[in-house]
């Protein structure tokens, strides 16, 4: 049974909502002068929500029609086969790939790794327009000095902490799109993240990567999409389950060591017997636990001498490399790098211990290690970074930057047209700014649509970005 992704959203549109928000940013600022309060929303906000849905519509439908989403043969059979079939048998079972979702009958796709910079990253500090005097005029204390910038093309250059990315740039595997972003005028982290991740009119609650998965294959493999984090990210919201895990080691059933095989077997049996959506979901979950068992049992050693920084982001990216290399069929991986909300005291490029320096170092060292670690896999990998909005061009009085508009996106991988800053640069002259912010010359959906089409081999860009007509920038090979 096939399902139409654009009519099967009925639970998402449970109430047929078409909320049209006319945001009153300016007025709200005068009503709510507490800028700190807004900042706080990004730091452990309970509602910093990825309301990523994990609907089981497809499974429920299949269960209702009596068609199992996938064959239930192996593992349960092994587990129930006898008293002796414990964890050992489970590992043996898991060593055999059972689902051939990787053999989707379309062109081979890149694995896309989408990195969301939560908190609004100042990309003018990362990809510095050092050829624009207005940049230095607007930032007397926090600009990256000309002597510090690693020049790329005579106009743009990198923050010194991004030096580890230079090999990728030189190899033509790193490119940027500047002055891009979400044209919605909101300056709310919350609303902007929601907008960017949905990338669709407000009445569509799924995320753009969720729609990509939906429209590019009818098969939902266990590891087709993963989020490194406690919950599936909003970009992956779709009417079928996607996995989220904090680490390979963590995606496991917890139990006392002695009884773990019993706990697994009994839960597996009870859920397997339940039938319906409950069985289908548990099957996906336990299958993932099972297939990760082999990986869990090994200590991960990055390839090529790659060394990830010992940070949450570094560890998450190492986990992504690990599952990609394990051949589990990962097509989409999502991960966050937070802590970009630098209203105060962001530090300067001359200080390697400043806030921005530390953040960028984490980013660069991790991406460089990731590229080395993947080795040959990198040719079929596409790393994309985005943030909810850029930051104000002019620094504020407390050594930081307030919420802005345009941003730069990073594109890294074997299939991109690298060594180039793509997109039109509107400039930083006062007249060119959008209320003091970098104007958006290129809607962020243009580059995303291009890579979805060319690198992810998905022709249904109209459904991934509904209501949007994309233009190629020449970013993807």
């Amino acid at each position: 049974m096939t399902h139409n992704p654009f009519t099967d959203h009925d639970w998402l549109l449970d109430e047929q909502v078409t909320p049209v928000h006319h945001h009153e940013s300016t007025f709200l600022c005068s009503l709510n002068p507490g800028e700190e309060v807004e900042d706080a929303t990004i730091l452990g906000s309970p509602a910093q929500v990825s309301h990523a849905s994990r609907a089981a519509k497809a499974d429920a439908v299949e269960a209702a029609t009596g068609e199992r989403p996938r064959a239930h043969l192996s593992r349960r059979g092994v587990l129930r086969g006898g008293a002796g079939a414990g964890l050992g048998a489970l590992m043996v079972a898991s060593a055999t790939p059972r689902y051939a979702f990787a053999a989707t009958p379309t062109a081979p796709r890149d694995t896309i790794v989408a990195i969301f910079m939560r908190g609004a990253m100042d990309t003018l500090s990362a990809l510095v327009p050092h050829g624009d005097p207005a940049y230095y005029a607007a930032r007397p204390s926090v600009a990256v000095a000309k002597g510090q910038v690693i020049d790329l093309d005579g106009f743009f250059g990198l923050h010194p902490q991004l030096a580890p990315l230079m090999p990728a740039w030189t190899a033509g595997e790193l490119g940027f799109v500047h002055a891009t972003g979400n044209t919605d005028p909101t300056r709310s982290h919350f609303a902007a993240q929601d907008n960017v991740e949905r990338a669709a009119p407000a009445n569509i609650r799924s995320g753009w990567l969720g729609r990509h998965l939906e429209t590019s294959s009818t098969t939902q493999g266990t590891f087709r999409a993963i989020t490194l984090g406690p919950r599936a990210t909003a970009s992956l919201a779709a009417p079928f389950p996607t996995l989220s895990m904090t680490s390979v080691a963590d995606f496991d059933l917890r139990a006392s060591a002695t009884y773990k095989p019993n706990v697994m077997r009994d839960l597996d049996a009870m859920f397997g017997d339940a039938g319906g959506a409950m069985s289908a979901q548990a099957d996906a979950a336990f299958t993932a636990v099972d297939r990760l068992a082999t990986l869990r049992a090994q200590t991960y050693k990055p390839a090529g001498g790659a060394v990830y920084p010992d940070t949450a982001f570094g560890r998450n990216m190492a986990e992504i490399a690990r599952v990609i290399k394990a051949g589990l069929g990962v097509e989409v991986a999502c991960v966050d790098l937070g802590n970009w909300d630098m209203h105060n005291n962001m530090g300067t490029a001359t200080n390697p211990d400043g806030w921005m320096s530390r953040q960028l170092r984490d980013l660069a060292l991790t991406l460089a290690a990731f590229r080395t670690d993947l080795g040959a896999h990198f040719a079929k990998t596409l790393v994309v970074t985005m943030t909810e909005f850029g930051r104000r061009v002019a620094e504020n009085s407390t050594g930081g930057l307030d919420h802005g508009h345009g941003q730069a996106m990073f594109f890294m991988g074997g299939g991109i047209v690298g060594k180039k800053v793509h997109g039109r640069w509107p400039g930083l002259d006062k007249a060119a700014l959008d209320a003091g912010d970098l104007a958006i010359a290129t809607d962020y959906r243009h580059p995303l649509a291009e890579v979805v089409s060319r690198r992810l081999s998905n022709p249904r860009v109209d459904q991934v970005f509904p209501g949007f007509t994309p233009t190629a920038l020449g970013l993807a090979r």
Binding site: V17, H51, A277
Partner: protein, 601 residues
């Protein structure tokens, strides 16, 4: 007489619990004939016709069953000794047997599991945040009807313990915006209270769901929050939602929908949330107007874009400042307005509130609103796919009672479809997490330090509850869109969620935060070493889920408890012994709490 009676009593004592029938012979019969004061000549020691006649006459005189046979009752009467009272049945706070199977029922979410249950369990699972022994005893003692009436009249329930917890733990929960804004964070910046009030409200809401005795009220409060939703955590309403919760949702949850709609629409939280604060006559903002029609009342298909524009005009001027209500006449659009079948002259700049109030009354009582509210209630309390007949019946009650909520709910809860709907709801994450916690019979432990603008620190009680909500993406009131959290299973079932749900009981049982760390499951559920493994399993499955487990699952759990290596198997009677309880009971509890049964409401 006394002496004689004592003598008679003593002489008859050996026979008190015997039965002597016509045809019998012997000393017992001689003593019987003497006690009946038969003539000496007739005391033959043979239970003959004369003896029988005398027995029957005596039994009639004493208003005993005139059987002619002498049993315990007659002997006791003859001896002048009162019959011993029957032994009182041992009171069992937790049903040790498997739950009553009163009808074969299947759940759409797990069609192969038996989900029959007894009525007390059905009410406990469906109308509360989780059953526990206390609650079941309460329902069984009062009877379903009385318990339901009590829950529908929450003022009749003394909930002072829970109210005190909330009032003392979050004293600034309902502080004004100015007070909240004046609070500083650790680095001294103003405004900390605005954000932290969101956290307070989430924790207070979770705490009430665990500890309040007004369980149905809390369930209905959650339903109305999902209906007239204001996203907790949205920047523009930070600091406003606690008062919205108190003054709109809680105030009217058991009142009338018409009153609640009036209160919600003009509340500063809603005004700010749906961008009506600066909506002016020259360019009205349509956000609130649209959601009022689409989400809060009649629903899609009942109105046109022109109706939205007209409703937006009526709403102009209805504003707020500093989260205090404010009407701005200079913003108000003046002139006749029409929304669907409602008209108002709206002749002056001051007419806004009256025109709006009339519109809200019209919308609250519209038949399409009744249908939507009824569907929402049925989805909350019966199934994801309630029958049209049920929805229509509930909508009729809503209309007949002028949108009064309690009588509408009463019709719903007494409907056969509700009664027959055991297991038809898949627990949403919040319901699952809270039910786990309630099963542990938690007691409240006050935080180590007063809860301040820091939101309560890391040692708040009920951290496990909050963590479960967070991991499963169901933090109270935090759904990011104006349509509220979905209330159908498909929105909540996921592979990752399955693992999280399977692991939460592990943390509850083995790690549990300090509020429940002392839970001794054996004591709490009266498990003794003399019980057989099967009895332990039956006791716990019944006490924790209220569903009968299939024979295969029951056996698997008993085998686990008996010998996890599978080398030996339990018998139906062999005592389980202290060691098995000591080493495997917690894992058994975890298995039951993590089982599919526990996910069915």
């Amino acid at each position: 007489m006394t002496v004689l009676a004592a003598t008679t009593s003593a002489r008859l004592r050996p026979y008190l619990n015997t039965t002597v029938k016509p045809g019998a012979r012997g000393k017992a019969v001689t003593e019987l004939q003497a006690a009946l004061k038969m003539p000496r000549k007739a005391r033959t020691g043979r239970f003959d016709a004369a003896t029988k006649r005398a027995v029957v006459a005596y039994q009639r005189k004493k208003r005993l069953p005139a059987t002619g046979t002498v049993g315990a009752a007659t002997w006791h009467a003859l001896a002048g000794v009162p019959m011993p009272k029957p032994r009182p049945a041992v009171k069992k706070p937790i049903q040790p047997s498997r739950p009553t199977v009163n009808a074969p029922t299947r759940s759409a979410h797990a069609p192969n599991l038996p989900v029959s249950t007894d009525p007390a369990w059905h009410l406990a699972r469906r109308l509360t945040y989780g059953a526990n022994a206390t609650l079941l005893t309460e329902i069984r003692t009062l009877g379903a009807t009385k318990w339901l009436e009590q829950q529908l009249n929450p003022a009749s329930i003394n909930d002072s313990a829970c109210e005190k917890i909330v009032a003392t733990t979050w004293p600034n929960l309902h502080a004004s915006r100015d007070v909240l804004h004046a609070m500083k964070n650790e680095s001294g910046a103003l405004g900390a209270g605005l954000w932290h009030s969101n956290i307070w409200l989430q924790r207070a809401t979770e705490t009430r769901r665990v500890f309040s005795k007004r369980q149905l009220f809390e369930m209905v409060v959650e339903m109305w929050h999902d209906h007239l939703h204001v996203t907790l955590g949205a920047d523009k309403v930070s600091g406003a939602v606690p008062r919205y919760d108190r003054d709109v949702i809680r105030k009217h949850a058991f009142g009338t929908f018409a009153d609640m709609l009036q209160a919600a629409t003009v509340h500063p939280a809603m005004i700010a949330y749906l961008d009506n604060s600066r909506s002016k006559k020259d360019s009205p903002n349509e956000n609130l107007a649209r959601e009022l029609l689409e989400l809060h009342t009649v629903g899609v298909g009942q109105f046109t874009e022109a109706d939205v524009k007209q409703a937006a005009r009526i709403l102009t001027g209805t504003s707020q400042t500093n989260f205090e209500p404010l009407y701005r006449p200079t913003f108000h659009w003046v002139g006749p307005v029409q929304v669907m079948g409602y008209t108002h002259p709206n002749a002056t700049a001051d007419a806004g509130p009256a025109a709006l109030s009339g519109l809200l009354t019209y919308l609250a009582h519209h038949p399409a609103t009744a249908q939507r509210i009824a569907l929402k209630m049925c989805r909350r309390f019966v199934s994801d796919t309630p029958s049209a007949a049920l929805v229509t019946a509930v909508a009729a009650a809503f209309t007949a009672n002028r949108t009064a909520i309690v009588p509408t709910l009463r019709v719903l809860f007494n409907h056969p479809e509700f009664i027959a709907s055991a297991g038809q709801k898949y627990r949403r994450p919040g319901e699952y997490v809270t039910a786990l916690y309630r099963a542990a019979n938690p007691t409240w432990t006050a935080p180590e330090k007063p809860v301040g603008p820091d939101g309560g620190g890391t040692h708040m009680p009920a951290n496990l509850v909050h963590d479960g909500h967070y991991r499963l993406q169901h933090e109270p009131l935090a759904w990011p869109a104006p349509n509220g959290y979905p209330d159908v299973a498909a929105a909540w079932q996921s592979a990752s969620g399955t693992i999280v749900r399977a692991n939460l009981p592990y943390y509850l049982v083995f790690w549990a935060d300090r509020t429940v760390k002392t839970t001794d499951w054996a004591t709490a559920y009266k498990i003794t070493p003399q019980m057989s493994a099967y009895t332990v399993v039956d006791t716990l499955t019944a006490a924790l889920t209220g569903y009968p487990f299939t024979a295969a699952h029951r056996t698997a759990l008993a085998k686990f408890l008996w010998d996890h290596t599978g080398k030996t198997s339990p018998t139906t009677t062999g005592p389980v012994g202290a060691d098995r309880i000591k080493y495997r009971l917690k894992d058994l509890v975890r298995l039951i709490l993590a089982s599919p049964y526990m996910n069915l409401r």
